[in-house]
């Protein structure tokens, strides 16, 4: 439901200029607009999902300057001057990211609802720590919930991608 906010003269808007999946975006947002709504409704990128809406499940995970945040509980204007990565921006020139490839090969998703957030969180993990122990992986991924897989395949996918990314 993309629509522009009402332009009454007393409505405060904030110019929002940021990098989205490597490309410059410029728009105006009202202070109360949430990043998740801007990304989904105004920019049409629906990979990030509104699920729990209280920052607990991770389905709305986006990377801002490489760090995972809950888009459902982030005000859109907060990404001004920063770089945002959504799941749609992970593949480069049609080539899947090793994490995406690994999730496919190792069965890391079933319904797919948690998957965009799961993969982005995993990317943040591996960018910070290319060779995580199982404990380190679990600790980092603790905030991303999956109702389908039981997590075993997710862990395998991430570990496999990590290995691939290390060139091992």
């Amino acid at each position: 439901m993309a629509k522009a906010p009402l332009r009454r003269s007393d409505v405060q808007t904030i110019p929002l200029s940021f990098t989205l999946n490597g490309r410059l975006q410029e728009l105006e947002v009202e202070p109360h607009e949430l990043l998740l709504d801007v990304v989904r409704d105004r920019l049409g990128l629906t990979g990030a999902k509104r699920s729990c809406d209280v920052q607990v499940c991770g389905a709305c995970t986006l990377l801002v300057d490489g760090r995972p945040i809950s888009a459902c509980t982030t005000l859109a204007f907060e990404v001004r001057g920063r770089s945002v990565l959504t799941i749609e921006g992970l593949a480069e020139n049609g080539k899947l990211h090793p994490l995406q490839q690994a999730f496919i090969e190792h069965g890391g998703f079933q319904c797919g609802f948690c998957t965009p957030g799961m993969i982005l969180a995993a990317k943040a993990l591996l960018d910070e720590n290319p060779h995580p122990t199982l404990d380190e992986l679990k600790h980092f991924m603790h905030g991303n919930i999956c109702r389908c897989t039981g997590y075993k395949k997710i862990v395998e996918s991430i570990m496999a991608a990590a290995k691939q990314m290390r060139g091992a």
Partner: protein, 286 residues
């Protein structure tokens, strides 16, 4: 969707404080938003204006001076968790911060916001009590230091005045031969019980004992009566007295039966965590 509000972006603590004074109940300080935005999304609170304190410079620094670690109120849990200084001088606090909520909350949430929102099921306050931290609050008229013990008044209530801004947290570095331990328990999204212990071994006796309980009741509490029981005892004597100390600490927690567990269950867990924290702190001393 949130209801519409105006964003104020002050450039100084004074300006932030003046905005709060000017708009009173209609304005609220906004930092990481990890608690505030949730309450606003639920429609439990509404503010006409949010004062974005993140635009005030100088509130994020972590440094050490004269045996005190000074942490800016806007330091995020992630920044504290990964700070080499905090890891070295206050490893128990770095460990606590590493286990706050989840990685996304740790990225956006600030220590100041956590303390000021005073959500009952929170971690940092409990440990800061035994570490005898001082909280620096500033407003246009001046600054004051609030001891952690005087900061937490009740659920969602601190002793901050409406126009005061928390700027820094000062934590004295524990002396040599000290042990500091924080443990929590819970199976819901937020912790149900948290216990912190600090102690040092001096001439074979347990000294400088600090015991605090949090999460189970409306606000974290230091439990001096439990500390008295253990002070001056040898480690073995103290271990014998732990069940008593545990019962005392449990009562002080002001636990009530709710979705997190029955009062009795929480009180029991306080005793268990106290025993484990005490043992852990003792081991650190040796």
């Amino acid at each position: 969707m949130l209801k519409r509000f105006r964003l104020e972006e002050p450039g100084s603590v004074r300006e932030a404080s003046e905005l709060l004074a000017q708009f009173g109940d209609a304005a609220k300080l906004y930092a990481g938003g990890t608690e505030l935005l949730l309450a606003m999304k639920e429609g439990l609170v509404h503010y006409e204006r949010l004062v974005n304190v993140k635009t005030v410079p100088g509130l994020k620094e972590i440094k050490a001076e004269n045996g005190i670690v000074r942490i800016g109120a806007l330091a995020t849990h992630h920044e504290i968790e990964t700070s080499p200084l905090v890891r070295e001088r206050l490893p128990a606090f770095a460990k606590l911060e590493r286990n706050v909520a989840n990685v996304r909350v740790r990225e956006a949430g600030t220590i100041g916001g956590n303390l000021c929102f005073a959500e009952p099921h929170a971690d940092p306050g409990t440990l800061l009590l035994v570490l005898e931290a001082q909280l620096v609050a500033a407003k246009a008229a001046g600054t004051r230091r609030i001891p952690a013990e005087a900061f937490f008044v009740d659920a969602y209530e601190t002793s901050l005045e409406p126009d005061e801004v928390l700027t820094e947290i000062h934590i004295p570095v524990p002396t040599e031969r000290s042990g500091v331990s924080y443990m929590k328990f819970g199976y819901l999204e937020r912790p149900s019980v948290g216990v912190a212990v600090k102690l040092s071994l001096d001439g074979g006796a347990v000294q400088n004992v600090g015991i605090a309980v949090g999460c189970a009741g409306p606000a974290p509490r230091r439990v001096k009566e439990a500390e008295e029981l253990l002070r001056g005892k040898t480690p073995d004597e103290a271990l014998q007295l732990l069940p008593d100390a545990g019962r005392t600490a449990a009562k002080a927690a002001q636990a009530i039966s709710d979705l997190h567990g029955s009062q009795e269950y929480k009180e029991h867990i306080v005793g268990v965590l106290l025993r484990r924290c005490f043992q852990d702190a003792l081991n650190q001393c040796r």
